[in-house]
């Protein structure tokens, strides 16, 4: 109820002249088209036949319609289905852990004036600048923590980030009024309660933003899989890794064909496959976007809490 009231409220304040409005809409429609058309092109190329793409270049209307790229993908990655669920699992767990870590740390750092606050800030800041490199991380993660060939190796090393902590801290500092926390404290609420019942609901847009970042990072990550999963453990592979290694292989094979067979060239649908891969990889994450989006299209926050 509060939400609705609020939305209409905002709309009232945003009112502008009709002429300006038309111009405004025109700008946005153009911008949206500039962004959308190439994406559409990717889709269209992915459903064209490789030969027509090679011959006529990219085209919005497929000259020869063909689902070869998709059938190739399905045929090649017979474990692509399992990989999809692995990715889903990793993304959900990773995002939840990541959100918990970043929001608690960010909140703690946003509290004003207590000892060690400066120290902690530096403490999270330094890793932003210096990293020990792959070998050192590998030895810790694989040898000491024994994460090799587990999904934890894909989740834990990237489940927190100084960058996100700082963003969270800034959000908390600017959007959560100190007065609310103080009054809750006077009411006798403990920090944990203040955090979960007051701060978090106010900060949903921030949570949604960082959540989206995490989701995207986990869904797209394949570097971790490359180093921490042996190639024999197909059943653990995340989808992005399957796609990327397929793409690299196609690159390699099509490069080698020229050196290999003098008389007969074999054609791989490499261009269209690349496009199809973009589609396959993007669709799930694009579907989850509206879920996050509803929290940061300006709306609830303060009004919701107060109402």
């Amino acid at each position: 109820m509060a939400k609705k009231k609020h939305a209409t409220g905002l709309m009232r304040y945003n009112r502008i002249k009709p002429a300006t409005n038309v111009l405004y809409s025109a700008i946005f429609i153009t911008l949206a088209l500039i962004c959308f058309l190439p994406a559409l092109l990717v889709l269209m190329v992915s459903i064209s036949s490789e030969e027509s793409v090679m011959r006529y270049g990219y085209s919005f209307i497929p000259k020869e319609f063909s689902m070869d790229a998709y059938t190739y993908l399905i045929r090649q990655g017979n474990y692509i289905g399992g990989a999809f669920f692995n990715s889903l699992k990793i993304t959900v767990i990773g995002t939840l852990i990541g959100l918990t870590m970043c929001s608690t740390m960010g909140y703690a750092l946003s509290r004003p004036n207590y000892r060690l606050r400066g120290f902690f800030t530096w403490f999270i800041f330094i890793p932003m600048l210096f990293s020990g490199g792959l070998v050192a991380s590998y030895m810790i993660n694989a040898q000491i923590l024994g994460l090799k060939n587990t999904h934890w190796a894909l989740i834990l090393p990237i489940c927190c980030s100084s960058f996100y902590i700082v963003i969270m801290r800034t959000f908390f500092q600017t959007t959560v009024p100190e007065a609310i926390i103080e009054s809750a404290k006077i009411d006798g609420a403990r920090q944990v309660r203040i955090f979960t019942q007051i701060v978090l609901p106010i900060s949903l847009p921030a949570i949604a933003t960082i959540g989206l970042f995490f989701t995207f990072a986990y869904w797209n990550d394949w570097m971790q899989a490359k180093y921490y999963l042996d190639n024999n453990v197909h059943n653990l592979f995340p989808m992005q890794y399957v796609l990327i290694s397929l793409e690299k292989n196609i690159e390699f094979l099509s490069r080698n064909i020229q050196n290999m067979t003098a008389g007969s060239e074999v054609n791989l649908p490499s261009e269209t496959i690349r496009m199809a891969m973009v589609m396959v990889a993007v669709i799930p994450i694009a579907c989850s976007y509206p879920f996050f989006q509803k929290y940061f299209i300006s709306g609830l926050t303060i009004g919701a809490v107060k109402g």
Partner: protein
């Protein structure tokens, strides 16, 4: 009372104070424990690997056992003919990119916030963030396709007006590299970058707008006096953080867009390191680590400088520490 006794006393007092505080606000410190443990395990302990930059890393001898070579790898890079060029190119591309994309994403977020129709707003937002998902390989492939003066969209449009002629090949113009690199990047990331600002803007208290409207403030004025100040802390932090990655121009896109015509402009540090790796005459692990460390130091200096300026300008509020 002797001097040393005084210091011990104050130290004790301080320690007591700290301990007291931890006891009093233990829940707050509880929040910190897990993330701190994570930072120590996954960031601080591996940080020992930084020493590879000063060693000739050999797997057999390990990180600790490899031989120290001092600044050799750094000097190799500093003395290279390409040192000045790669650093210059990296800085130029980075700054150009930052100077354009940073204000644009703020302006775009403010503009989007003004859209009245909620549905339209959602659609615009969803569409503009789409390019973010297109992979770099595909993006560069599309650039090549579209800008081809013979077979591409660009050439076809040109020939509508000048039949039988071919336009200038933009990709074969060395100085167009910067613009292509930066603007294709903006196209790809503008929508995505606004997300964080949209979230910040959603925190604007509607009562402020109400009050301002009663006072007769125009929409533009309210953007300036209400929306922008809300964005400022987030924007400052984003600027500070971005300035801390100025030396890290990504490898893939620059490498894919590179050709022998534009290499004067397109050779950045990361592509150069990659090529020396292919050459196979450097201890690549150590060499790359040394250059990485060099980048990080410069990044750190830039970040701290920008942070300092921001702190001064905002009177101490908008800064990392």
């Amino acid at each position: 009372m002797s001097k040393s006794a005084t210091t011990t006393l104050t130290a004790n007092k301080r320690r007591n104070g700290l301990w007291k505080q931890i006891c009093r606000r233990w829940q707050l410190f509880l929040f910190l424990i897990i993330p701190l443990a994570w930072l120590i395990t996954f960031c601080y302990i591996p940080m020992g690997g930084v020493q590879i930059a000063f060693k000739n890393y050999m797997p057999k001898k390990g990180i600790l056992g490899s031989d120290w070579v001092g600044w050799t790898h750094f000097l190799k890079f500093f003395n290279s003919f390409y040192f000045g060029r790669t650093v210059g190119n990296t800085l130029r591309i980075s700054l150009y990119s930052l100077c354009c994309s940073f204000p644009l994403s703020i302006i775009f977020a403010l503009m989007m916030n003004l859209i009245i129709n909620a549905k339209f707003k959602k659609v615009v937002q969803t569409l503009t963030y789409m390019p973010h998902f297109i992979s770099t390989v595909v993006l560069v492939g599309m650039l090549n396709q579209m800008l081809n003066p013979v077979a591409g969209l660009y050439g076809n449009i040109y020939r509508l007006f000048h039949p039988g002629e071919y336009p200038v090949d933009i990709l074969a113009r060395a100085n167009s590299f910067d613009h292509l690199y930066v603007w294709s990047g903006i196209w790809q990331n503008l929508g995505w970058n606004t997300i964080i600002y949209m979230a910040a803007l959603s925190g604007v208290d509607p009562e402020l707008h109400e009050a301002a409207q009663i006072d007769g403030a125009s929409r533009l004025k309210r953007v300036w006096y209400i929306d922008l100040p809300v964005l400022l802390p987030t924007a400052s932090i984003m600027l500070i953080m971005n300035s801390g990655s100025i030396m890290s121009v990504g490898f893939e896109k620059a490498y894919l867009m590179q050709n022998s015509v534009n290499s004067v402009y397109s050779e950045v540090i990361s592509t150069y390191v990659y090529k020396t790796g292919l050459g196979g005459t450097t201890n690549q692990m150590s060499y790359a680590a040394a250059i990485g460390l060099f980048n990080n130091v410069i990044n750190g200096i830039l970040l701290i400088t920008v942070n300092y300026i921001s702190k001064k300008l905002s009177g101490g509020t908008n800064s990392l520490f």
